[in-house]
């Protein structure tokens, strides 16, 4: 049975005034929107500083990395909370074979006014550095098909920059990623980026694709009596 919401609010107000430090722990253990450390059968894992990323038989790991200092300021707290909620929804919709990972420092309420202080930026930054990701383009979602072992990160991964995207665009991107993960078990960045981002980014992607296709369409062959060589522009996979 779920407790009456108004009763919960009144209780929290009372506890906040009287025994805030002691009672915060009790409330955090009972409410829904609280950060809990990673356990086994989760598809959205809140990994704490000391915790390891769950290693069960997942097909992919989607890491939400917050390395951008701008996203830790108070005026960005709403966006950060929104992103966290989107992460939770994403984690719930990608199925049991895939894991979404968010790094926290400690188990605290997601409604904490200073949510940014609890984000484990240091751990995210280690990932950003190792994967050569620019903090200015963070937050990012990094999707790996192999276990993201911090001492030996996989070389093959897909990155999606969220820093310049609006919440609506982020929702659209996550929905597309969920579709791909759930139905195909993997992510094709080319298909996802086609529908995400702004118009000029989509145009640039299209231009890149056209140039890429064109450059793959020719080959140069030089044949002389003593010397012959063949130059292929690229090999289609």
């Amino acid at each position: 049975m779920r407790p009456n919401p108004s009763f919960l609010r009144a209780t929290r107000r009372f506890l906040g005034r009287c025994l805030r430090p002691l009672c915060a722990l009790v409330v955090s253990a009972s409410a829904d929107n609280f950060v809990a450390p990673a356990t086994s059968a989760q598809d959205a894992a809140m990994v704490l500083t000391t915790g390891e990323i769950p290693k069960q038989d997942y097909k992919t790991w989607s890491l939400f990395l917050v390395c951008n200092p701008a996203w830790l300021s108070t005026d960005k707290s709403k966006d950060l909370f929104s992103l966290y909620q989107q992460f939770q929804n994403f984690g719930r919709t990608i199925g049991n074979d895939h894991l979404a990972v968010w790094f926290w420092k400690a188990s605290k309420s997601a409604y904490d006014s200073n949510l940014a202080a609890n984000v484990d930026v240091e751990r995210s930054t280690r990932f950003c550095k190792a994967l050569q990701l620019k903090p200015s383009e963070s937050p990012q979602i990094v999707i790996m098909a192999s276990y993201p072992d911090e001492s030996d990160l996989p070389k093959d991964f897909a990155v999606f920059q969220l820093g310049l995207m609006s919440p609506t665009d982020i929702s659209g991107l996550l929905a597309k990623l969920s579709d791909q993960l759930l139905l195909t078990g993997k992510v094709d960045p080319a298909q996802v980026t086609d529908v995400s981002g702004r118009l000029w980014i989509r145009l640039l992607s299209a231009a890149q694709q056209v140039i890429g296709n064109f450059s793959c369409a020719w080959s140069l062959k030089i044949a002389t009596g003593v010397f012959s060589a063949e130059l292929h522009s690229c090999q289609k996979q």
Partner: protein, 68 residues
């Protein structure tokens, strides 16, 4: 300032311009646009500026030279 038209000058300009344009295009194609959209935009913009400038310069210098 180039005062007199000469094929050699065009060849030098196209050589350096072509090299710069090739490097920019290679950079543009090397990574997905989504990874750094702004960098990609600058790369393709400079590539187009270089090629367009060299074409315009060549067109202007070679204009009417065929009769002389």
């Amino acid at each position: 300032m180039v005062r007199r038209w000469h094929y050699g000058k065009l060849i030098i300009l196209w050589s350096w311009g072509g090299l710069a344009a090739a490097i920019l295009l290679t950079q543009f194609m090397a990574q997905p646009v989504a990874k750094s959209p702004l960098t990609h935009l600058l790369e393709i913009a400079f590539f187009l500026i270089i090629v367009a400038s060299l074409s315009a310069l060549t067109w202007y210098w070679l204009g009417g030279k065929e009769s002389g």
